[in-house]
């Protein structure tokens, strides 16, 4: 009888321990994310408690002190225990592009231009750089316009069919999307960033010119946008000054 009692107490104690450990596993801190939310940080806190008197009621915890925030032109600091980690992104101002040389209206020709921007972000999810045009097609002069380069998988070489015209863009840099990388022959495959290769049009809905899944501060990432306008003989492009008003948007991910 005494042995049975000891065994019963032993089982009771083991079950109690297992229950306590199960509770501990439930409160295991985890960092998680979903497409909509990201849990930046979490913690398990043990201690503190409820105190009361006739004059007050206090509930306290132990161990978490946030020391405050500091700011400068370049940095925002949230110091202390798991303060809100704000993300930061900056986009250098792109210069206006003057395509050179001008294109003779009758015989046609090719004109080039480029601009370079740098994106700096501390976003742990990285960033995306989008280029969008105000008009469709992008390059316009009054009621006249020059067609965009076709959308879809970029063309490795900038090609313009007979008696037509096209205006396209090609990004170059460390963070260009895979669709603009090439194997020196075809875009969308390979890892090369062949200069002046992989061309596409500038849509009003935006085209990704760079993307990264990591933060890059303090150096940032530089992307050069190469523009090309091709007009073949007999395209019927009306003479005039054509302008594409475009917007670059750097977005944290």
């Amino acid at each position: 009888m005494r042995q049975v009692a000891i065994l019963a107490h032993l089982v009771q104690a083991v079950c109690g321990t297992v229950l306590a450990l199960s509770l501990l596993s439930v409160v295991d801190a985890q960092v998680m994310s979903s497409p909509s939310y990201q849990l930046q940080s979490d913690s398990v806190n043990v201690g503190g408690g409820l105190s009361s008197s006739t004059a007050y009621i206090q509930e306290s915890t132990t161990g978490e002190i946030a020391t405050g925030r500091s700011e400068s032109a370049a940095f925002n600091l949230r110091a202390g225990y798991q303060q809100l980690q704000e993300v930061f992104i900056s986009l250098s101002a792109p210069t206006d592009v003057l395509m050179n040389p001008s294109i003779p209206g009758i015989t046609g020709g090719v004109s080039y231009g480029s601009t370079t921007v740098t994106v700096i972000t501390d976003s742990p999810g990285g960033y995306m750089l989008l280029l969008s045009a105000e008009g469709d097609p992008a390059m316009q002069s009054g009621s006249n316009s020059i067609p965009n380069y076709p959308a879809g998988t970029p063309d490795f070489a900038f090609t313009v069919p007979a008696a037509s015209a096209r205006f396209g863009v090609s990004p170059e840099g460390v963070d260009i999307p895979d669709v603009f990388r090439d194997d020196t022959f075809v875009c969308g495959v390979g890892v090369s960033d062949t200069p002046l290769a992989c061309w596409t049009g500038i849509a009003t809905t935006g085209v990704a010119m760079a993307e990264s899944s990591n933060g890059n501060q303090p150096d940032g990432a530089t992307t050069t946008l190469q523009f090309q306008l091709g007009v073949t003989a007999g395209a019927g492009v009306m003479s005039g000054e054509y302008t594409a008003t475009t917007t670059l948007t750097a977005l944290t991910l």
Partner: protein
């Protein structure tokens, strides 16, 4: 009742990640058709006498239907300058002499505007002999003596340079001298124009070093004033300077007129490889030629390049996340018909293939070139000299080859290191030794082959006419890496914070159970 934990608070900080965006607009413009419209005439044009030898010309901007590309400045009807600015300082003139100026604008297709109206101005008369006022001052001048007054001075030191900007109340000419001592022995810079704002950068300085400087200003009349004497200290380098290893196995293979380049990148998080090409010689920095490849891959094909140039020099740089750059791995290729036409500059010499390599030192009689013993090889805490009889490197590790800068005082263009593949002595990999960050040594860090065996390291020094000044060589051996130490205790104990917490709970539980059993035994025994 035993209480294990009084209270458990679960605190989860849930943060909604709201995308943050920055946007910027810009325009892209082009002209289709003939642009025959010139810019408008620059107006108004003003000419200001600044000194006995200088006149400053300025003008209003021109407007074009597309874009103004620049302006032409003519003095007395003769072209003297083209500029994209709207001002120009004309120096080297004669005192008390009248000059006339005209400005003309042009656009991107070189349509020229008509010339502006003629504007004539006379330079100042010859100044009296300069009077030296030796005292340093930043205070305002006396009412009767015109001299240079320093309004503002900003000194921003970096590791190897210092940026200095200053402004004065009136246009002045400046002279800046600097050195390790108050004799300002290291150098000086002077301006030949009279300016109110002046910026300059002194380069070639040593990190973490105190320098003395003296700033002198000259009025247009030639009066000299010591504006400031002071000191600045350059920024120290980080104590742990990062050495970025080169790619390994950098090979260039010719296929018809194309060149296939392949390599193995070093294990370096977020680093990328940038390959630069030139037909003049091995690119010595990452902007020293055309970019052939940039990314994290292991091969690229330079299509049809041999149709346009031969030989072709390639350098593969590894760019670390910090921005630090490796010294560069190199390869050279040439069309099959050019190999017979002469030697290829800098082409690393194919070494002989004996079973053992003897130390080689071929140096032109000179005290300005290093000796075999000056070439250092280091791996981890071990360091060898290239003259050592036994140089045993761990296969698969990284190694740094360096030559102290003060041992190479001859004018040189390039230092090339070449390592034989221990598995195939007909295969070799070459790399550059470049001045390191603190400019103390020519240096290269590279990942050594994983194959165990005998190899040979060759160092060659070339001058600016591609003549080889020196060649050093010796045998090195790659030995197996020592076995990894056995992990006695699971690492997870230290890496997962939950495990020690859980084990502590288990131990407390068992102890409590034993105490409770003991108490029950004693209780029952008493009964």
């Amino acid at each position: 009742m035993i209480v294990f934990l009084r209270l458990i608070l679960i605190c989860l900080v849930l943060v909604t990640v709201v995308p943050i965006a920055q946007a910027a607009d810009f325009s892209i413009r082009t002209i289709v058709g003939e642009d025959v419209i010139p810019p408008t005439i620059p107006h108004p044009v003003t000419v200001t006498p600044i000194a006995s030898t200088q006149l400053d010309v300025s003008w209003g901007v021109s407007v074009d239907n597309f874009a103004v590309a620049g302006y032409i400045v003519r003095r007395d009807g003769i072209y003297i300058a083209t500029t994209t600015l709207t001002s120009f300082s004309d120096t080297g003139l004669s005192p008390s002499t009248t000059y006339t100026y005209q400005i003309q604008a042009f656009d991107t297709v070189f349509n020229y505007s008509s010339s502006s109206i003629l504007v004539a101005t006379t330079t100042l008369p010859t100044p009296p002999p300069p009077v030296v006022t030796p005292e340093a001052t930043t205070t305002a001048p006396t009412a009767t003596v015109a001299r240079v007054v320093l309004d503002d001075l900003l000194i921003v030191p970096a590791t190897d340079r210092v940026a200095i900007s200053l402004s004065t109340a009136r246009p002045a000419r400046f002279e800046l001298r600097w050195g390790r001592t108050a004799s300002y022995e290291l150098g000086y810079v002077t301006t030949d124009r009279f300016l109110r704002d002046y910026e300059t950068t002194i380069t070639g300085l040593e990190p973490g070093t105190l320098y003395e400087y003296e700033l002198i200003g000259y009025t247009p009349a030639g009066r000299q004033t010591i504006l400031k004497r002071g000191q600045f200290t350059t920024v120290s380098l980080d104590s742990e300077r990062m050495l970025v290893p080169n790619v390994s196995g950098f090979i260039a293979t010719v296929a018809l007129d194309s060149v296939r380049l392949s390599w193995q990148p070093p294990i370096l998080p977020n680093a990328y490889v940038r390959i630069v090409r030139s037909h003049l010689g091995f690119p010595q920095h990452q902007n020293d030629g055309a970019i052939v490849y940039q990314g994290k891959g292991t091969s690229v094909t330079d299509v049809d390049i041999l149709q346009t140039m031969s030989p072709v020099y390639y350098t593969a740089f590894v760019v670390a996340e910090s921005g630090a750059v490796s010294s560069g791995a190199i390869a050279v290729v040439y069309r099959s018909d050019t190999i017979l036409s002469g030697s290829i500059p800098y082409e690393p010499e194919r070494p002989p293939l004996p079973a053992e390599f003897a130390p080689i030192e071929e140096v032109r009689a000179s005290t300005t070139l290093p000796e075999l013993s000056d070439i250092m090889i280091s791996q981890g805490v071990h360091t060898w000299r290239l003259e050592d009889q036994r140089i045993e490197l761990t296969a698969g590790g990284t190694v740094t080859v360096s030559i102290a800068k003060d041992r190479v005082t001859a004018p040189i263009k390039i230092i090339i290191g070449t390592l034989l593949d221990p598995a195939n002595h007909r295969q070799q990999f070459s790399f550059l030794l470049r001045l390191n960050q603190d400019r103390s040594a020519y240096e290269a860090t590279l990942a050594v082959p994983t194959t165990v065996g005998v190899s040979q390291l060759t160092i060659e020094i070339y001058d600016f006419s591609s003549e080889r000044l020196a060649r050093y060589s010796n045998q090195i051996s790659f030995i197996p890496a020592p076995d990894d130490p056995q992990v006695v205790f699971p690492d997870i104990f230290f890496t997962s914070p939950l495990i020690p917490f859980t084990l502590s709970g288990v131990m407390v539980g068992i102890l409590s159970m034993l105490l409770w059993l003991l108490w029950r035994h004693r209780h029952e025994d008493n009964r």
